[in-house]
C-alpha cells in the first residue's frame, strides 16, 4: 500500500540515506531498527508524507505521492495510523476525545464507536483515564494512548515510532499483541524500535521482517538478531 523506490533524504547538506526501497504490502509486518540518529523517524515521516523525498518515488495507495495535493494527503492519512515518537495530543481535550480525534476529523460518527473505544482503552491499560487530560498522563500512558489513537480508525497501514520506549515489558507484549491482531486482519504494520527482545518475541508470533537502517542504507537484518 506504501511503496518507496530509490528514496533518498537529506536535512540540508547532510545526506541521511539514499536508494531506499521498501514495500508495505497488505498483511506485512516490518520492524525497523538501527542506531539512534540513523533516520528511522525520518523514514516513517516519508511514509506518511510529512516529508517529501529528495530523490526516488513514493507510491501511496496506488498513487504517486508527489502528485497529491494537500487534501489528498489528508485523505491518505486517514488510512494510516501514526504513532509519533514524541506523542502529541491536544492538551486541553480529555484523553478519550483525543483518541477519537481521527474519527471526528474524518467526519465519522463517533458516538457509534464508544464501545470500540472503551475496549481499546481497557486493552492498553487506560480504562480509567478517559477523562484525564494528556499532560496529566505518565510517559508510558501517553505512548499507549498514541497507539490507541493510531488504531482507532482501523487504518490500512500502521506506522509506529518507538511505541514501547516508555512502557514495561508486560505492557509491551500487550501492545505487540494488539498490533499482531490487526496485522492478521490484513493491516500493514511498520514498527520502529530499539527493543530487540520485543522483535524476538514478535517473530515467534508473526512472520515479521526486520529491517535495519545503518550507514545510510536499509538492509534486511539476518540471523544476527
Amino acid at each position: 500500500m506504501i511503496e518507496l523506490s530509490g528514496v533518498g533524504y537529506s536535512y540540508g547538506d547532510s545526506r541521511l540515506f539514499g536508494d531506499i526501497t521498501l514495500s508495505l504490502a497488505p498483511g506485512a509486518f516490518h520492524f525497523l531498527t538501527g542506531p539512534s540518529g540513523a533516520g528511522k523517524t525520518t523514514l516513517l515521516k516519508l511514509c506518511y508524507l510529512e516529508l517529501a523525498p529528495d530523490e526516488g518515488q513514493i507510491d501511496i495507495f496506488g498513487k504517486d505521492a508527489a502528485a497529491l495535493n494537500r487534501d489528498d494527503i489528508a485523505k491518505a492519512r486517514q488510512r494510516i495510523g501514526v504513532v509519533h515518537q514524541d506523542c502529541q495530543f491536544i492538551d486541553h481535550m480529555p484523553l478519550a476525545e483525543n483518541i477519537m480525534l481521527p474519527l471526528r476529523v474524518a467526519g465519522r460518527d463517533h458516538a457509534a464507536e464508544q464501545n470500540n473505544l472503551r475496549d481499546l482503552m481497557a486493552w492498553v491499560g487506560l480504562g480509567d483515564k478517559a477523562d484525564a487530560l494528556p499532560p496529566e498522563l505518565s510517559g508510558g500512558e501517553r505512548q499507549r494512548a498514541a497507539l490507541a489513537r493510531a488504531v482507532i480508525m482501523s487504518p490500512d497501514v500502521i506506522l509506529a515510532d518507538e511505541p514501547t520506549g516508555n512502557v514495561d515489558w508486560d505492557m509491551s507484549l500487550r501492545l505487540l499483541t494488539l498490533l499482531v491482531e490487526l496485522n492478521r486482519m490484513g493491516k500493514s504494520v511498520l514498527l520502529a524500535t530499539h527493543d530487540l527482545a520485543l522483535i524476538r518475541q514478535a517473530k515467534a508470533q508473526v512472520p515479521a521482517r526486520v529491517l535495519r537502517l545503518r550507514d545510510r542504507v536499509l538492509q534486511q537484518a539476518g540471523s544476527d538478531l
Partner: protein, 295 residues
C-alpha cells in the same frame, strides 16, 4: 459566513483551547480597539457637527447695509429686497427690525440706543441657499441700482472659521482611520500569536488526517466569535461612557459635546461586526500561513 455561527455536527470548534492568555488576547485587543474606535467615531461626529454648523451659520449668511437719508430709507430697503428676490442663491432676505439692530449694537452703545433717530444704516439679513450667491455680481448690481447698499458677505470672518471647521473634520476622520488601522493590525497580530501558540494543535490535526479547510474552520469560527464578543463589550462600554458624558453644549454654537445624536447611535454598532470580519480574515490568513509550514 452565516454558517460559521451555527455549529456543525462534527463541530471542530472544541479543538481550539477555550481559554488562556493568548485566547484572551484576541478578545481584549478587539475590545480595547472597539472602545477607542467608538470614541473616535464620537469625535468624528462631534467635529462634523461643528463643521456643519459653522458652515451653515457662517458661510451661508450675508448682510447688506443700507445707508440713506431717513425719508428714503424704506424705499431703498425695499429696492434691495426686490433685487435679492431676483438673485439666484438667496434663500430668504429680510430687513432687521429695530429691536434686532439694537441688540446687535448693544455691546457698543448700550441697550438704550435710539435706533430710530440715529442716522445709522439699516441691515438686511440674507440667508443663502446651498448654491450660494454670486457676491461680485450682486455687489455690482447693488452699486448700480441702490448706491447706498453695501454687501458684506462676512468673508473676512468666515474664512478662518471654515478653515478651522475643515481642520476639525480632518482630525475626526484621521483619528477614526488611525484607530481602524491599529485595530485591524492588533487583531491580526493577536490572532497570529494565538494561532502560533496552537501550533501543536494544528500539527496533531494534520497528523490524524484533517484537511486544511477543517483546521482553518476550527480556528476561524472561534477567533471570529472572540473578536465579536470582545468588540461588543468594548463598544457597549464606550457607548455607555459616552451616554453619560456631560453634554450641556447643545447651544454653544462653537463646539457641541462629544457624543452621538439620533441615528448616529447606530453607527458604532457596526464596529463589532467589522472587528469580527477582520478577525475572520486575519485568522484565515494566519492559519493558512501556519499550515504551509507543515505538510
Amino acid at each position: 459566513m452565516i454558517a460559521l455561527f451555527t455549529p456543525s455536527p462534527t463541530d471542530p470548534e472544541r479543538l481550539v483551547p477555550p481559554s488562556g492568555i493568548t485566547a484572551q488576547l484576541t478578545a481584549f485587543a478587539a475590545g480595547a480597539m472597539a472602545f477607542l474606535a467608538v470614541f473616535a467615531l464620537a469625535l468624528m461626529f462631534a467635529t462634523n457637527r461643528v463643521a456643519d454648523r459653522w458652515s451653515a451659520e457662517l458661510a451661508q449668511t450675508a448682510t447688506i447695509r443700507v445707508s440713506a437719508p431717513a425719508p428714503q430709507m424704506a424705499e431703498q430697503v425695499q429696492s434691495v429686497l426686490t433685487i435679492l428676490g431676483q438673485t439666484p442663491g438667496v434663500a430668504s432676505a429680510r430687513a432687521m427690525g429695530d429691536d434686532e439692530q439694537r441688540a446687535l449694537l448693544a455691546p457698543w452703545f448700550g441697550p438704550d440706543l435710539p435706533v430710530e433717530v440715529l442716522p445709522i444704516p439699516r441691515l438686511i439679513e440674507v440667508v443663502e441657499d446651498s448654491t450660494g450667491i454670486d457676491a461680485e455680481g450682486l455687489r455690482l448690481r447693488l452699486r448700480a441700482e441702490v448706491p447706498g447698499a453695501v454687501l458684506d458677505d462676512h468673508g473676512r470672518w468666515r474664512r478662518p472659521l471654515i478653515e478651522a471647521a475643515e481642520r476639525l473634520r480632518t482630525l475626526g476622520v484621521l483619528s477614526i482611520a488611525l484607530i481602524a488601522l491599529t485595530m485591524a493590525a492588533m487583531v491580526t497580530l493577536a490572532a497570529s500569536a494565538s494561532l502560533s501558540a496552537n501550533g501543536k494543535v494544528i500539527a496533531v490535526l494534520r497528523l490524524v488526517g484533517a484537511r486544511d479547510s477543517y483546521v482553518i474552520r476550527a480556528f476561524v469560527r472561534r477567533f471570529m466569535l472572540r473578536a465579536l464578543a470582545g468588540a461588543s463589550v468594548g463598544t457597549v462600554f464606550a457607548m455607555a461612557a459616552i451616554a453619560v458624558f456631560p453634554d450641556s453644549g447643545r447651544d454653544t454654537g462653537f463646539l457641541t459635546g462629544l457624543g452621538f445624536r439620533g441615528l448616529e447611535w447606530f453607527v458604532p454598532l457596526l464596529i463589532p461586526p467589522v472587528a469580527a470580519m477582520v478577525a475572520f480574515w486575519a485568522t484565515r490568513i494566519a492559519a493558512a500561513r501556519k499550515l504551509r509550514e507543515i505538510r
